[in-house]
Amino acid sequence: MTELDKISRRDFIRVSVLAGGGLLVACGGGGSSSRSNAPSGPGDNGGGTPVTPADAFQVGEFMRISTDNKITVLVGASEIGQGALTSIPMIVAEELDADWSQVTAEMSPVAANFNNPYFQNLLQFTVASSAIRGYFQGQRSVGAAVRQMLINAAAKRWGVEADTLRTEASFVIDDIGGRRASYGELSSAAAEEPIPNNPPLKDPAAYRIIGSSQQRLDAADKTNGSFRYGMDVDIPNMLTAVIARPPRFNGQALNVDDNAALAVPGVRSVHTILGGVAVVADDFWSADKGRKALIVQWNELLAGRTDSDTQRNAYNLRLNLPGLPIRTDGLVLLAQTLASETISADYYFPFMAHAAMEPLNVVVDYDGSSAEIWTGTQSATLDKIFAGLILGLLPDQITFHMMPSGGGFGRRGNPLADFVRDACAVAKAVRQPVKVIWTREDDMKGGFYRPAAAVRVSASIDSANNISAWTHRSVTQDVTALLYAENLLDSLADFTLPPLKELTDFETGMPYKIDNVLMDAHLTVNLAMPALWMRSVNKFSDVFAQETFIDELAMKVGKNPYNFRRDLLSEKPRHRAVLDAVADAAGWGFSSGGISQGIAVMGHWNSFVAQVVEVSVSANRELTIHRVVSAVDCGTAINPDLVIAQVESAVIFALSSILFGEILLEDGVVQQSNFDDYPVLRMYQTPVIETVIVNSGNPVGGVGELGVPCVGPALANAIFEATNERIRELPLTRSNFKIA
């Protein structure tokens, strides 16, 4: 309970806790603040009809069980496509022994009792593949506690001992007495039962829902157009705004000539805000036309001048300097001195855009004393705090609707809340409900990219042809620097952030049995170049370098890349298991007809993955990617079909990045704008994707990012197999490869 004590000492959080109605969240249970519906007493129920008209009770607002036996689970993690609205209720339903066909899900309010335990219960924050890992244990306890309360209520009603009763599919069953009662019938009485402290959890062998492939609960609404995203929010008197932003980051509007803009029919007003100039209109089209008519002179004194080429040179120079050690095993220098040979390679990765399908957007209804906000976000708690700072409101004066998102990939998990702050600034000026829409171009040019990175790896080979030393140096931008640099954070008084820097996800898990290892990193600070985590963060670049270089070493010592890895993984059973599984599933070594294979393996987020990519390369450097096979061990797969869907998704996301992903800056100006100059993978370019789940029965691991990092190196290794060329930079268009 220490976390809880900490939380309640913090004003921001405490208010949210009260508003949320429960304080027992930290131990995974729930407290009920709304028992006014409770029945007068138990035991007077005839034949299954509800005792009172009361139709629901709440356990810390985590779920509602209605008298018609329907269960609604409130989900604190963001739904960004990964299926949180399905898999988290599955966890609750499992321990509750619920009838899954009667379970529905809703996004929770933004309140402390829905904070992600992975982030020390401090935030609702859906990044770092943390939703299932964070919520798993707590959700189980909630389900188990409520189940116990339902049993206790039934025991009282029937005058029997609770431990003679069992539960199944939303019924409490008395086998001896030959009777049963639905959870719905019992719900009102159960709400009066004390909340059990340590409800027993199921043995995983008894799972009925966890581990079964279930249809997504949002599948129907996502196929008939009725699923509501932030972009679809519509409230009375709502205006629409677009923001003209400076051509270079951190530019400021100096002179604004808005005459032509205001002359556009439908345009209502023009406001200069911190990040640009907002054009507010009756509808999107007028706002966008108004923006085109706007003439702004920008003050670029403090503007960012990041230039892709210059930065690359600077990063390459930094590779020569020792960085901050992040892993040191043995004595690398000595091993290098004794080695018969040390080889090294440098890699470079550009800025990349998340380009989620739903461009950013926020609706704010601010009337001077309270506000209501709707937005698709992965970082609702911080968004709400920043909104309060901009609008001058306390958290309990803000109703924040965390909307499901049309993709996030990290962009909607910005601890700086850039898009929410912009929108609040507009709303403050307008004092009328307003939806701020980012066009695709705004989204593409709006920064907060995956930061560029340079990596150098080296390996030393001793006289027995063993790898005796390994070094790995990364240079990349600190994506959290802005947060600590901005004074805004100071005004949050005692608010403590979880260790966000850890989310940089540098690769330190190099799994191979090498005695002497040195990994170090340079985290550069560039406050005029907004960067942010993107699906798999630095694993994308670090694992690319590691897994292509290990392949190079295999060739050098004349071994098959699969066997070479396997031998070096003798002490890593879970790595080895996925490696074996993928080799088996892909038929490693048995490709034919001009098809080349490449392989890669890694572990992170408490999960493990190995992938094989099959490619053929034509004489004019056209790549045909035939097949990507993955073997994943995520400990316990809650909903195996959604795990497979996430891997498919990650493979395609990775291929987009590897083949084309590049945001270029020239003297601070982003050169890309839409899907024509920032292409992403399309149907005709998509390979066959096969995925096997290796069920290790271990604790739940993360899945959302797992399928990304190995695709690049496996593809590059396959390209080497086909062409004898080593890939040292991405995207592949830089090496003049085309996709067929």
Binding site: E79, I80, G81, Q82, G83, Q215, R216, D218, A219, A220, D221, K222, T223, N224, G225, S226, F227, R228, Y229, M231, D232, D234, T240, P265, D283, F284, W285, S286, A355, A356, M357, E358, P359, P404, S405, G406, G407, F409, I437, R440, D641, L642, A645, E648, S649, A650, V651, I652, F653, S656, N674, F675, D676, V680, L681, R682, M683, Y684, T686, V688
Partner: protein, 152 residues
């Protein structure tokens, strides 16, 4: 003032002549199932049927609609194939974030209406204008084949 026919109903809309059909649907008619993704006919999120043809509504000005019949995702279940596509999408867990899926479903329905047993190449051709950042392409392909094989 323009009068357009959407999902079998006539609507009179007060909008500037260059306002794209996409925004007329979303803002004037409150049919928000059709999505904005790029505004440049590059992503397919805004696909609707215009006289049965899959069309990017983000680049079709309302003035160009005339008497043509518009059908959107909200009404595609009234077509046999449209409803098959929706059901199969659900069965196979096709949607992830779901944002692109209105466009995907409109494109797939149009394909299957013209071609009861599309080859992989036919699918590539009909569906490659529709971007899915969540990478649901393999399931979309599977769903189209499944409908063709089992229900058409």
């Amino acid at each position: 003032m323009f009068t357009i026919r959407v999902n079998g109903v006539e609507h009179t809309v007060d909008a500037s002549e260059d306002k794209p059909l996409l925004w007329v649907l979303r803002e004037n008619l409150k049919l928000t199932g059709t999505k904005y993704g790029c505004g440049q006919a590059l992503c397919g999120s805004c696909t609707v049927h215009v006289d049965g043809q899959p069309t990017r509504s983000c680049v079709m000005p309302i003035s160009a609609v005339g008497n043509k019949q518009i059908r959107t995702i909200e009404d595609i279940n009234t077509e046999h194939i449209g409803s098959l596509v929706q059901q199969t999408w659900q069965t196979l867990n096709v949607p992830q974030c779901g944002y692109c899926q209105s466009g995907q479903i409109m494109a797939a329905t149009a394909l299957l209406k013209n071609n009861a047993s599309p080859s992989d190449q036919d699918i590539d051709k009909a569906m490659s204008g529709n971007i899915c950042r969540c990478g649901t392409y393999p399931r979309i392909r599977k769903a189209i084949h499944k409908i063709a094989a089992e229900q058409l």
